[in-house]
Symmetry: C2
Subunit: 306 residues, 2 copies
């Protein structure tokens, strides 16, 4: 059905908006100067990410539907990582005028479906032309009267636990980079993370002292908790979930691979985390992250590699 | 002090964050998975825009400080256009790794200063590498217990009024496109709009039935009110403010030029709008926008010109 340049801005917006079904938290959806979204707590949790073609996704490695799901997932996971319930997404979409409008519509289907999986919906956004496909996703959420679960609450003696897949997306990316097409499960994990959105609620109900989503890699992200809390985090590698499918580099992928959007939390001493969580270590006095008592492998994701 | 690629992601974020002073509405600022912002109304107004180098700004025509102010202004104006008080901005910033870090810091100074002018502050964001400088700005706001001022409330008999400069940014852009450097006031208007942020409060206190910010051009934006409200808007060109500085094309610039982020509102019959507003027409039964009883000049801003 032609390109988005042929459609023009307003027809394209109308077509994309039809893919979206505003949920109950959306008081006023697309079509005005701004959206209005429920924030019953009296505070709103808000986070934004920019995703750029060639850097955060490759058009030859991922289809539009998966790109949409992934872009939504990584922001919704950030809201959940504050212990909040996702309510709405705002999406800025930039693409070359020659982009097929069907492609754009499938992207929005992916955004809408991932929102639905997290209990949210797309409330508004912006559409512009640009040389490269770019997505700017803002996610909002509600704390429901509770304090936000930050990175700064870990205390010596706390237990460290994770929830969700680790290393799968990184292993899938390594396969694609090496020109391989399987195992399919790992390729799929790279294309579309599946954050366990209930993790925030689970962590909160078990008294979590800190929570974050693992986007840069487990060791690096635990480092953020260590820094913000002024503690040392000690990981036992034998307790880190490394399924066989991750292959010989499995532990490295699990420790350093980002983009699965698993969650890592600290819980007070002697807490038994929910069954879906895996205890992987403890919090101690000091600074930094150690794995089996040693400096961990590096492999940090820096968005500006030199 | 070098490029942002040399600095690396985390050092760059630290440096940019230092330019920002979170305001009283920011409960939790940059540094965690998400920000937490006050939303005392129990709803939050939210809008997002993507701005791309070469399309929304030119690096040879505008410096980083003005680009930052303009990017913030256009989103803050959207919040005000809902009758809300701006509370916070989230900023996604993409740039080539070779970008000078001073340049990026001046951009953030501009963002912070424009927020301050509107009573808001930057609460968080994202920094990534990309081939072109790209800004994704999300603005949030609070309705303070009032209903949002949408585009759909205009009724036949209402008066139509505007607040703020019209056509100045367009005239400035025309000068730059023609290789001219003055009048300085018009060039400055293109580089940095000055939305009258009190317009929302003024419109509300005088019972406005519809409100929007003029971003695409007065006629086109009044068309959005006409469409959403199911009415016809009749403009008298002799009442449209066209200062002499706009030159021989002044009326055309005022009717079709966007990006000044003036505000247009409708008020109930016989309302005398606040003194800072100028009545330019009336609302009638029907559809569309007419100027002096005729089809208005076109000159719509389409983000995907064919």
């Amino acid at each position: 059905m032609g390109t988005i340049g042929e459609l023009g801005e307003f027809a394209l917006i109308a077509r994309l908006t039809r893919r979206l079904a505003p949920g109950p938290d959306v008081r006023l959806g697309p079509g005005d100067d701004a959206a209005v979204i429920a924030a019953p707590d009296g505070r709103v949790v808000a986070t934004t990410d920019l995703l750029v073609e060639g850097r955060h996704f490759r058009l030859d490695w991922s289809g539009p539907y998966d790109i949409g799901r992934k872009a939504a997932a990584q922001n919704l996971a950030d809201v959940v990582a504050m212990g909040a319930r996702p309510t709405a997404l705002l999406v800025g979409f930039a693409a070359p005028p020659g982009t097929d409008s069907d492609w754009a519509e499938r992207l929005y289907d992916g955004l809408a479906d991932e929102c639905r999986a997290a209990g949210a919906s797309v409330a508004g956004g912006d559409v512009v032309a640009a040389p490269a496909v770019t997505l700017a996703v803002t996610a909002l959420g509600d704390l429901g009267g509770a304090a936000p679960l930050t990175r700064s609450g870990a205390r010596p003696g706390d237990v460290v636990a994770v929830r969700g897949r680790l290393g799968h997306a990184a292993a899938g990316l390594a396969l694609l980079t090496g020109g391989r097409a399987g195992p399919a499960e790992l390729i799929a994990a790279h294309r579309r993370p599946e954050p366990p959105y209930r993790a925030g609620e689970e962590a909160r109900s078990h008294g979590a002292t800190a929570l974050l989503d693992v986007s840069d890699g487990l060791v690096q992200d635990l480092g953020h908790i260590a820094d913000a809390s002024g503690v040392r985090i000690e990981v036992e590698s034998s307790r880190v979930p490394v399924p066989e499918i991750l292959g010989p580099d499995g532990l490295r992928h699990a420790l350093t691979g980002g983009e699965d959007h698993a969650f890592a939390a600290t819980f007070p001493p002697d807490t038994v985390p929910p069954p879906s969580w895996t205890v992987i270590g403890t919090v101690a006095e000091g600074a930094g992250v150690v794995v089996d008592g040693r400096e961990p492998p590096t492999g940090a994701w820096d968005h500006f590699p030199t």
